[in-house]
């Protein structure tokens, strides 16, 4: 059978946007390598949006690969042990979000003993599963959105059934430096597509879109080679622009629909899944393997050997930095890419399910201007993908009137950083908007408590 699928080249994508230096060439040609398992792993109990897990193990307990070590009820996905060994301690540990979190510290015995619950399934077995069973498998495997938001995937699936008419797979990867999804699509396209087919089955749809930026032609080609027209999966090639991979912008680019302010993608019939999430869904359904490893790009302007690594969850940033080497003292170490990544102060923090990259920046890549002053150039308005007016939002922060801040639509800001990247005056716009949002939330909470 001739293998063809539809490749659509999109020209319009979304409002605004910027073209930062991509720097993907550093790592985009580096094949994915297995990172040697470290001796000690720190597995945080909360790697998703929702209620944190309660540890199911205690100090001294033996654990096996894939064994569930944390779970909870409510909006929660379980956490599994990435290695076999012994629980060294259960304690509060530094986390890449900047806080501390209850974590299970595991001493690796390097035996790789598999948990007996892990059983691969054949295609026939998978075909026999109902959507509900599939979602439960995905839930129990601890799958979350791996693009960084870490929203529980089973919730996205179950809440979208009946509402969703368009499945979008996000292989856009618009952040500079990051190549994890690019390499994944090039080297394991069949696994990504297998995961997409599971999602299509759950939603009962026979079409899906894989969105990819036009700066990743090899990945698009690799995916295309695995698809035939009967699959119903189209590859939508989008112009490379930041923030193409942002959920709302991606939906606009593919379908032309605008997610309503404050709403979820399901409100316009869309569900967006990261390419890495699709692979995790495949692993969970076909291999029975929970989400215990992920692909992480370790790159940056002072990294000697940038790499794309398969890293067990719980590996420390220190171990990864040692593996790639740096040519100078790092200035910033980021969890994620340089546009939205969180700068770290403690390099003993572990890789979590949402860490798609560790970016190590050497010299001062963003100057800090003392006493920055807006010159009203309006460039921030031109680049804002949410069509907001950052110049007026920032000005509103000078007031004490929270209602006035709210009136600038600050809550719609997606913190993509386009405005702060562009601002010639180097205003700390995103920082300001984050604090403004906190003030709005605090104000709303105070108003709610007054009523009661």
């Amino acid at each position: 059978m001739e293998k063809t699928c539809e490749v659509i080249k999109m020209t319009f994508s979304f409002f605004g946007g910027i073209h930062p230096d991509e720097n993907k060439f550093l790592s985009c040609d580096k094949p994915i390598q297995e990172f040697p398992e470290p001796d000690v792993l720190v597995v945080p109990m909360s790697q998703h949006i929702g209620a944190p897990c309660k540890p199911l193990v205690k100090k001294g307990d033996p654990v096996t690969v894939g064994q569930k070590i944390g779970d909870n009820t409510g909006l929660c996905v379980p956490v599994h042990s990435p290695v076999s060994g012994k629980v060294k301690s259960v304690e509060m540990k530094a986390h890449s979000s900047g806080t501390t979190m209850m974590s299970v510290v595991i001493e690796n015995d390097h035996l790789g003993t598999l948990c007996e619950e892990i059983q691969p399934r054949t295609q026939e077995q998978v075909d026999a599963l109902t959507p509900e069973e599939l979602m439960e498998i995905i839930h129990q495997a601890g799958v979350v959105g791996m693009g960084g938001a870490t929203f529980p995937t089973h919730v996205k699936l179950s809440s979208g059934i009946g509402k969703v008419d368009t499945i979008i797979v996000n292989a856009g990867e618009c952040e500079p430096y990051i190549t994890a999804d690019d390499r994944l699509c090039r080297e394991m396209p069949e696994l990504v597509i297998s995961g997409v087919k599971v999602i299509m089955k759950i939603f009962g749809l026979n079409t899906a879109h894989i969105a990819i930026e036009d700066n990743k032609p090899q990945a698009a080609k690799a995916l295309q080679a695995q698809l035939c027209a009967a699959d119903g999966i189209t590859i939508d090639v989008l112009p490379a622009m930041y923030p193409q991979g942002a959920e709302k912008q991606l939906i606009q680019a593919i379908t032309g629909r605008q997610v309503p302010s404050g709403g979820l993608p399901a409100a316009v019939g869309c569900a967006v899944f990261n390419a890495a999430t699709c692979k995790a869904i495949h692993d969970a359904v076909y291999e029975g393997m929970p989400l215990i490893k992920r692909i992480v790009t370790v790159s940056g302007n002072i990294v000697m050997a940038p790499k794309n690594l398969i890293v067990p969850i719980g590996t420390s940033y220190n171990d990864l930095m040692e593996a790639v080497g740096t040519s100078a003292n790092p200035y910033k170490v980021l969890s994620g890419g340089p546009m939205m990544g969180i700068s770290q102060y403690d390099l003993s923090v572990p890789i979590t399910k949402g860490t798609n990259a560790v970016t190590i920046l050497g010299h001062r890549s963003r100057y800090h201007v003392d006493h920055p002053q807006c010159i009203r150039c309006g460039k921030c308005i031109d680049v804002c993908p949410m069509k907001l007016m950052p110049v007026l939002m920032y000005k509103s922060l000078m007031t004490n009137d929270v209602e006035q801040i709210k009136a600038t639509n600050m809550m719609d800001c997606i913190e993509c950083g386009c405005c702060a990247y562009t601002c010639p005056a180097y205003l700390p716009l995103v920082l300001g908007f984050r604090s403004g949002k906190q003030r709005i939330r605090a104000h709303a909470a105070a108003a709610a408590s007054k009523k009661v």
């Binding site: 309503p260 910033k332 340089p338 003993s348 800090h368 907001l388 007016m389 950083g417 700390p428 920082l431």
Partner: protein, 332 residues
């Protein structure tokens, strides 16, 4: 901690951690580069005194800003070149024969009263250079003595008595006559006038540079010049509509004002529609002042008046936010 193998001085900050190469400083530098052709042209038309006046004006502006910051113990931002731009622009709207003390007083007014007293860069309500010029009209004779172009007529560096004076095209036009100079001379800049305003060609070169560098958009200049052109075409004071229109467009400070003064970020609206309305408003006021005003140049006062309307113009044409409930709005 045992696993802290390395200790680095890591910097913590909010994202984003990278920045575009464009800064206030590079923008102001680009504006200075865009003004350079006109400056070179002014030396060709009016002699070295034009250059000298400009340099004195720049030095005075930078000095006043520095001195103000030192006196008031404020953070000094002279390295962003914005004072240099004010200095050049103020010199460009003065006649080449202007005495140095007058322009230094103008610089003092522009920098200290108009810019720094309002809070420095980004806070001023009106364009400092134009306000400085308006202040310098306290000496109207000095501000409206025009030399003939050409090296043989130029004022010397230190004395202005020898200069041969002549009327500018706008002075002719104010009396309802076509100017004595040809349109080509007006386009090239071979006419009397202020230091930097005479050559439309050289200013347009700067305009193209600013557009290519994306420092400004064409909205304000096109709306401004377009409005002046249309109004001049509709209400000509001569036999030839087209020639009258060309004379109005190339005469006086319109090109300089539309390209470099009306587009000043701080004193122009941030919304697209606001910018267009602002440009049209400048154009209408310019024509009104040129036709009916007591003084024959309208550009600087038109822009100054429109500067004061920016707070209002910022309110029109605001973008509709992403995902705003459109249909519900219609129902209600």
């Amino acid at each position: 901690m045992a696993q802290m193998k390395y200790f680095y001085e890591l910097t913590i900050s909010s994202s984003p951690h990278v920045h575009s190469p464009v800064s206030t400083r590079t923008i102001m530098r680009d504006v200075l580069i865009a003004l350079t052709p006109a400056l070179i042209g002014s030396v060709y038309f009016f002699g070295l005194r034009a250059l000298m006046v400009t340099l004195v004006s720049v030095a005075a502006c930078v000095f006043f800003e520095w001195a103000w910051c030192k006196l008031m113990k404020q953070h000094c931002k002279i390295y962003d070149f914005s004072a240099c731009v004010t200095g050049v622009l103020l010199a460009f709207v003065c006649p080449p024969t202007i005495p140095y003390w007058t322009i230094i007083l103008g610089d003092l007014f522009a920098i200290v009263l108009v810019k720094m007293l309002f809070g420095g860069i980004g806070r001023n309500v009106v364009n400092p250079a134009l306000a400085g010029r308006a202040f310098m009209f306290s000496w109207p004779v000095l501000m409206s003595t025009w030399v003939k172009v050409g090296w043989e007529n130029q004022a010397s560096l230190f004395s202005t008595v020898d200069a041969v004076t002549a009327a500018t095209p706008l002075a002719n036009m104010h009396q309802g006559q076509m100017p004595e100079s040809s349109i080509l001379d007006m386009f090239l800049g071979n006419i009397g006038g202020c230091i930097g305003e005479t050559s439309a060609l050289l200013l347009l070169i700067g305009f193209v540079y600013l557009l290519l560098r994306k420092v400004i958009t064409a909205r304000i200049p096109l709306a401004y010049i377009g409005t002046v052109a249309v109004l001049a075409f509709l209400f000509p004071m001569g036999n030839d509509r087209l020639m009258w229109m060309a004379a109005q467009v190339f005469g006086g400070g319109l090109m300089l004002g539309a390209i470099f003064m009306a587009t000043d970020y701080v004193t122009s609206p941030v919304t697209k529609l606001g910018q267009i309305v602002y440009g049209i408003g400048c154009g209408v006021l310019t024509i009104l002042i040129r036709y009916f005003g007591g003084y024959n140049e309208g550009v600087s006062y038109a822009i100054l008046v429109m500067n004061c309307c920016v707070v209002l113009l910022d309110r029109i044409g605001r973008p509709t936010k992403f995902g705003a409930p459109k249909k519900e709005g219609k129902k209600a």
